[in-house]
């Protein structure tokens, strides 16, 4: 029971954390905590096979799948805090608490009798005994799950498959389209500008400066911008002024540029 009393508060805290963290990645990590703790509890409950499966299948495979999807969807897709359905959060909390209360009260009213223990059932090892059950009594259910898994795999493939409705654009066509777009909308023909390279600071999270001294939004990754880790040009404005002052030249044009960038930010 020691393991239980240590792990139970951790699990409840982690589970509550899932409710409140804003970022999906954090939720996934908290879920991993709950699942690994569960695996330990399984071990404590004489279920070594499920202990392994819980870690390998749940924590390993399923959570990885979640993380992959998060990556595809974009880590910047965090929840907005504003509730769209009126009263949903309050009601959900009230009804959820009520449900939990009813369950706990109900359970506390039940007497569970003496615990038999699995010593006898696990005689000769937990895994062989489980296998005995799975391949005799539950063999049909077991075989059916294989059909279910195959169906799920094929279903996922079908869902993820995107039908190509137009022929693939070749290089010549791409070039022609870009030129046409340039003619129509004035969109830049060439590649996007690389991030800024400064004398004292050289990184991908720093926007490049255009010939007129303004920062180019297009030069840094959109993901970095979403994360808010981009070093913005205004942040460096002080530096620039400092450098200009050191150089002893009156940088008359600078402040105007800074104001522009502030507006953009």
């Amino acid at each position: 029971m020691t393991a239980f009393w240590i792990l139970a508060p951790i699990m409840v805290a982690a589970a509550l954390g899932i409710l409140f963290v804003r970022k999906a990645v954090h939720a996934a990590l908290l879920l991993a905590v709950v699942m690994i703790s569960l695996a330990v509890l399984y071990a404590a409950l004489d279920a070594p096979f499920l202990f392994a499966v819980q870690i390998i299948v749940y924590t390993g495979a399923i959570l990885m799948l979640f993380l992959f999807v998060l990556m595809l969807v974009g880590v910047d897709a965090s929840d907005s805090v504003v509730e769209t359905i009126r009263g949903q959060r309050l009601l959900a909390t009230v009804v959820g608490l009520l449900f939990g209360l009813v369950l706990v009260v109900g359970i506390s009213q039940v007497t569970f009798g003496t615990v038999v223990g699995l010593d006898k059932a696990n005689e000769g090892g937990n895994v062989p005994q489980l296998a005995n059950l799975l391949f005799s009594k539950y063999v049909f259910a077991f075989e059916t799950t294989s059909a279910l898994l195959i169906t799920a795999a094929i279903g996922a493939m079908v869902l993820a498959h995107r039908e190509r409705l137009t022929p693939k654009e070749g290089q010549a066509a791409q070039a022609a389209r870009r030129v046409r777009e340039y003619a129509d909308t004035g969109r830049h023909l060439g590649p996007l500008p690389p991030p800024g390279v400064f004398a004292r600071h050289n990184a991908v999270d720093t926007p490049a400066l255009l010939p007129d001294g303004t920062a180019s939004e297009a030069s840094v990754s959109r993901v970095l911008a979403a994360r808010g880790t981009v070093r913005s040009a205004p942040a460096m404005a002080d530096d620039i002024d400092e450098v200009q002052r050191q150089l002893g030249q009156g940088g008359a044009a600078r402040p105007a540029v800074d104001e522009d960038e502030e507006g953009a930010q």
Binding site: I85, Q88, A92, G96, L98, F99, V102, G106
Partner: protein, 651 residues
């Protein structure tokens, strides 16, 4: 048959034996019984389904089928006479018509002396009228259709008189009603004809209501509706039940035979072509009511109250029709009123029971001859006068239409009961029997005969004598031979119809069906009664002679007339009575019902619908598309389930 011993004492008590229908199965020429019906039916089918293809020869086919039926009827009649008196009922089972549990109805035909006479009347007179129609309808584009309807009528009428059970009779009954409707409204482009057809149809439905209720009551009482079964079991039934059946049958008969209170349709029915008036509304269909009562003698003989009702209806009708006849200027309407009155005499005969049945049928046959004769004669006159029906526009036609005049004269003498002519014998016998029953009824019937003498003389005078009052462009001419031939035949029959009474032949002939009458002596010798009747009729004729024959007949009907004339011109306010008693209250009830239906029933139904719609409008807001709010209600449900489990398991 098992009921017979029980019947015997009853019959002995009543002193007059009520015969039982007990036919033998058909053999020999009688196996052709179904062909009598099938021929005109096939004719109707060919003519009505064949369409324009049959236009060229349709009228000939129509005549041939009826003449063919007449030939078979004649053969069967001869064969029937050849049989012994107690073996004159023949039945033919065609097929099982309806078989539902205990309710079994076969398409059975019954041929007995009563049917035999009707068969001859329907196919014989019907055939003559068919032939007449060839000429009368020659200029009508839809002549072929007319013959199709006529054939349909003949077939239905034959089903009516050959039926061996009430349901098959009812089939024919409705069939003739349909044919009557189609033929009254044959010129349906005339609004009056269409309205008349509808009126006849609707009033007949009232009678049919009584008829169908009677059949149901018969089935409930006796468990069968065949004449055989009912006539056997009738003696065992309660008199009150039999009276109820009798009254319902009388209601049916009133509708079909235009008896008061369902008389209003017959005068309007004259909108149809004249051969139709002759065949359907004089000779055959309107006598179906009399047939029904005579056929149901085993019920009426045991229900004296019902018989009294028949007599009451008959006496009222015979005076009603006669009075209407006195003041009509439309030649066909005079004849229609006369028909109503004469059927009243037949009903009187039928109401008098065993003593009168045979005379009722006798008068029916004679009437069939002379009234068809006169209707066809009237048609011939109308033909000559460019379809003008107003007698005030006739006059002095006896020279122009000699054959029509002579044949019409025969009919006239027959109907007023001129000694020696057919109507004399039959009407005299009915009135004589009425005197035996009650002096008052006899007196009323005699008065009716006097009025008959008056209005028929008036008709004769205004049409064939007095001065010319023709329209300017009219040039009367005698009708073609195809029309005069039937007139001559019918005139001969009108004169000679009385032969049937020689040696009381018709009474004996019908005895197997209606029973043998016990002869009652009147308080005064019959010859005295006959003389009284003749005197009254002569008085009627003389009145007509002095009021019409001796003075100028105005071309336009005078408007300053007595209350009685005005009443008679308005059909004794029959329509007004119907309107006040039935139509207007009915309209009010229907208005009330439609209002009730619209506001309450529709209101409830539509209100329910709009309430559901409104609720749905509210509920559909719950379907907001948010998965999470659905999940919330799911959780709520889960709480309820858990609580329920707790209550069940822990409570």
């Amino acid at each position: 048959m098992s009921v017979l011993p029980m019947l015997a004492p009853l019959a002995a008590e009543g002193a007059e034996h009520v015969p039982v229908v007990d036919p033998s199965s058909a053999d020999g020429v009688f196996t052709l019984m179904w062909v009598v019906i099938a021929l005109p039916l096939a004719g109707a089918a060919i003519l009505l389904l064949g369409g324009r293809l049959t236009d060229a020869w349709g009228h000939l086919l129509g005549c041939l089928t009826v003449v063919g039926s007449f030939a078979i009827s004649l053969a069967m009649f001869v064969s029937l006479i050849g049989r012994a008196d107690d073996d004159r009922q023949v039945s033919q089972h065609l097929y099982d018509w309806i078989s539902v549990g205990g309710f079994k109805v076969g398409a059975d035909l019954l041929y007995d002396p009563l049917s035999a006479l009707f068969l001859l009347l329907i196919t014989g007179v019907g055939g003559l009228i068919h032939i007449y129609s060839i000429g009368y309808m020659a200029h009508d584009e839809r002549r072929r259709r007319f013959f199709g309807y006529l054939n349909l009528f003949v077939a239905a009428m034959l089903v009516l008189v050959l039926a061996e059970n009430y349901l098959l009779l009812f089939l024919g009954w409705e069939g003739v009603g349909l044919a009557s409707y189609l033929l009254i409204g044959f010129w349906q482009y005339k609004p009056s004809a269409a309205a008349a057809a509808k009126k006849a149809f609707v009033i007949n439905r009232v009678g049919d209501m009584g008829m169908s209720l009677a059949i149901m009551l018969i089935f409930v009482t006796f468990g069968t509706i065949s004449f055989t079964g009912v006539s056997e079991a009738a003696g065992g039934a309660k008199e009150s039940t039999l009276t109820a059946i009798g009254l319902l049958l009388l209601l049916g008969a009133c509708g079909k035979s235009a008896q008061v209170p369902l008389q209003a349709w017959l005068l309007d029915a004259m909108e149809g072509p004249t051969p139709v008036s002759a065949l359907i509304h004089a000779a055959t269909m309107v006598t179906a009511g009399v047939y029904l009562i005579v056929r149901s003698n085993f019920i009426f003989d045991r229900a004296p109250d019902a018989q009294t009702a028949v007599i009451a209806v008959a006496v009222v009708t015979l005076l009603w029709g006669a009075i209407i006849g006195t003041s009509k200027d439309d030649i066909k309407k005079v004849l229609a009123g006369s028909t109503m009155s004469q059927i009243g005499y037949m009903m009187l005969g039928a109401g008098l029971g065993i003593a009168g049945y045979a005379f009722a049928i006798f008068h029916l046959l004679n009437h069939g001859f002379f009234k068809a004769n006169m209707f066809l004669g009237a048609g011939s006159v109308m033909h000559a006068m460019d379809d003008d029906v107003d007698m005030r526009h006739y006059g002095a036609l006896s020279k122009m239409l000699p054959i029509t005049f002579l044949t019409f004269l025969m009919g006239y003498l027959a109907i007023i009961g001129f000694p020696g002519f057919s109507g004399f014998w039959s009407k005299d016998k009915i009135i004589e029997t009425a005197f035996v029953d009650s002096v008052w009824i006899g007196i009323l019937a005699t008065i009716g005969a006097g009025i008959t003498g008056f209005y028929m003389t008036r008709l004769m005078l205004m049409t064939f004598f007095t001065q010319k009052r023709w329209e300017e462009h009219v040039h009367p001419h005698e009708s073609p031979k195809v029309m005069t031939f039937p007139l001559i035949v019918l005139a001969a029959l009108s004169v000679l119809g009385g032969i049937m009474l020689l040696n009381d032949w018709i009474v004996d002939f019908l005895a197997p069906v209606v029973g043998t009458p016990v002869h009652h002596e009147t308080e005064v010798p019959p010859i005295v009664i006959t003389l009284i009747i003749l005197a009254v009729v002569a008085a009627g004729v003389a009145t007509a002679w002095f009021t019409i024959g001796r003075s100028e007949v105005p071309r336009v009907a005078p408007t300053q007339v007595s209350v009685f004339t005005r009443a008679a011109r308005n059909d004794l306010y029959g329509d007004a009575i119907n309107d006040t008693l039935v139509v207007r209250p009915g309209t009010h009830v229907v208005h009330g019902l439609t209002t009730f239906d619209k506001s309450v029933v529709d209101g409830a139904v539509m209100g329910q619908a709009s309430a559901t719609g409104g609720l749905a409008q509210v509920f559909r807001r719950w379907q907001n598309g948010f998965v999470r709010s659905y999940a919330l209600s799911l959780l709520g449900g889960a709480i309820l389930v858990v609580l329920a489990l707790l209550v069940v398991n822990l409570g």
